[in-house]
């Protein structure tokens, strides 16, 4: 074992190669960076006019301390603003350029630098998606995500929200960010006006009564692949179903969980049996388990009452 040949030489050679390559790269970078920056600037300016065609030229407004805002430019003729903002997407930051008129309506949005999956996440840059935004105000009502590219779509929308926050600051307008919908306990939605009082009822582990004589029962059962699900049954004083809900469950999101939708649960209202009910398309196992659970609750309830 020759120390020099086996240990020192390889290390030295590799290190020297790395240093030389790094040097060449540094030189190339120095020489290309200004050109790249210029190109990016030209592209950005052209893009700005595309988004806010009524503008003439732009001046940048210094605005810091807005998370996600990269820059905001104001049209010199007062036509509006163009912002560059970013939000974390699937593969990295999704940069979005947004054109907003002086009174808060979107004139256009454009996908800029991003690392989203080509032909999937990058579809948020397609007209089919971006056109939705035109004319909308800060609420972004009715914007639909790109199928199969939810994360990219959410990032895009968030970037547009950030644009509005910046707009709000410079235009002196109150901007409401759309709130995340609150989690509502399905238990409380069957008898919405009334308070649920826990009650001891034979045959039921979890049951509540209401002041007007209604009853809400939580019935744990097993659904798809024997995964647990809670079926909530609300009964009127006369024993008919007031409403049913899907409680905590491990059913397949978007498929089995569709049993929570009113289009399915509304069928049960007013009934005393579970005959001839439609299942949720594509979620037969969960629907059948749900229906069986409701039937069991009805049977146990009439047994407890009538017996």
């Amino acid at each position: 074992m020759n120390i020099i040949k086996d240990f020192i030489k390889p290390v030295v050679v590799l290190t020297v190669i790395c240093l030389v390559v790094a040097g060449v790269l540094a030189y190339t970078y120095e020489f290309t960076a200004p050109i790249i920056a210029q190109g990016a600037q030209a592209e950005a300016d052209a893009s700005k006019l595309e988004l806010l065609p009524e503008a003439d030229s732009f001046e940048e407004i210094e605005l810091s301390d807005i998370d996600g805002l990269i820059s905001i430019h104001k049209a010199k003729n007062g036509a509006g603003y163009v912002t560059l903002s970013a939000a974390q997407g699937f593969g990295g930051l999704v940069n979005v350029m947004t054109g907003i008129t002086a009174d808060g309506k979107i004139t256009g949005v454009k996908l800029m630098e991003n690392q989203e999956t080509p032909n999937l996440g990058t579809k948020v840059g397609d007209a089919a998606y971006t056109e939705q935004y035109i004319g909308k105000d800060m609420n972004l009502e009715g914007v639909e995500a790109v199928t199969g590219a939810t994360v990219s779509s959410k990032a895009f929308a968030k970037a547009v929200n950030i644009a509005f926050v910046a707009y709000g600051k410079v235009a002196g307008v109150e901007v409401e960010m759309p709130e995340e919908p609150e989690e509502v306990d399905p238990l409380t939605t069957i008898f919405p006006e009334e308070e649920l009082v826990p009650a001891e009822m034979a045959g039921f582990e979890e049951a509540y009564t209401t002041a007007s004589g209604g009853v809400v029962i939580v019935w744990p059962t097993k659904g798809y692949e024997d995964k647990p699900m809670d079926v909530i049954v609300g009964l009127n004083p006369d024993g008919t179903i007031a409403g049913v809900r899907l409680g905590e469950n491990e059913q397949t999101p978007g498929i089995g969980t569709m049993c929570a939708e009113p289009s399915y649960t509304d069928q049960y209202i007013g009934r005393t049996d579970t005959k001839d009910l439609d299942a949720v398309s594509g979620a037969t196992v969960t629907s059948d388990a749900f229906r069986k659970a409701v039937r069991e609750v009805l049977e146990a309830y009439s047994a407890a009452k009538g017996a």
């Binding site: 086996d6 390889p10 050679v13 590799l14 390559v21 790269l25 190339t28 290309t32 080509p118």
Partner: protein, 218 residues
């Protein structure tokens, strides 16, 4: 004329994509249009020539222990240079190639030729080999790109010539299909059927030991 053979070998006889079956990843990914195919081919050729020359010059200095890391650093250096140059001077192509531009670093053609040729031959010959393989690569991409663009989008270099298109050619399955057909056509042209020389085939690739499909003598 042995020297000239170094150049011409890579074009048809040992075309890296269609005969050696190296570099199939970008061949499928960026050939949805002829323009992108050529662009990628030229970028990879630049790297190939550069790395072949440098590696050939350094072949006696690089100890065997650090052979692969050294090759990779050199190749990555060239890829980064071409990335910066494209971003500065050919932004459109840069955007179109996307992630596949930096992926040239792991393009088997480049490391494969470094191992199989540049590591064992002189600088001039290695340069010729690089040019030849590069031309072969670009040619293969151009052929595939053209077929896929005409059939899938009806355009050639963005000029519309057909209106009845078959979308699948723009997508992965179509790419594989065209790839297979072109390989078959080239095989026919070369009339060698299934015979491949050992040096050209998969056992020449540095990771052959790890590859489960490589049989003895293949």
């Amino acid at each position: 004329m042995n020297r000239l053979k170094n150049l011409t070998r890579g074009i048809i006889e040992e075309n890296p994509v269609l005969v050696l079956l190296l570099g199939t990843c970008p061949s499928l990914a960026v050939t949805s249009s002829a323009k992108n195919g050529i662009g990628m081919g030229l970028a990879a050729t630049f790297v190939l020539i550069g790395s072949n020359i440098v590696i050939s010059l350094l072949k006696n200095i690089i100890p065997d222990k650090v052979r692969i890391p050294s090759y990779i650093v050199v190749i990555a250096g060239f890829v980064t240079i071409i990335q910066m140059l494209l971003q500065a001077f050919a932004k459109d192509l840069y955007s179109e190639l996307g992630i596949f531009l930096p992926l040239i670093v792991v393009n088997c053609i480049i490391l494969g030729r470094a191992e199989m040729f540049a590591g064992k031959n002189g600088a001039f010959d290695s340069a010729l080999d690089g040019i030849g393989m590069g031309i072969g690569f670009t040619l293969a991409l151009f052929i595939m790109g053209t077929i896929r663009e005409i059939l899938g989008a009806g355009t050639i270099f963005d000029m519309q010539i057909l209106t009845n298109t078959v979308d699948i050619f723009k997508m992965a399955p179509g790419g594989f299909f065209v790839f297979g057909v072109v390989i078959a056509a080239v095989n026919k042209i070369k009339k060698i059927g299934s015979k491949k020389t050992k040096a050209a085939g998969r056992s020449g690739c540095p990771s052959a030991a790890a590859c489960t499909g490589t049989e003895k003598g293949e």
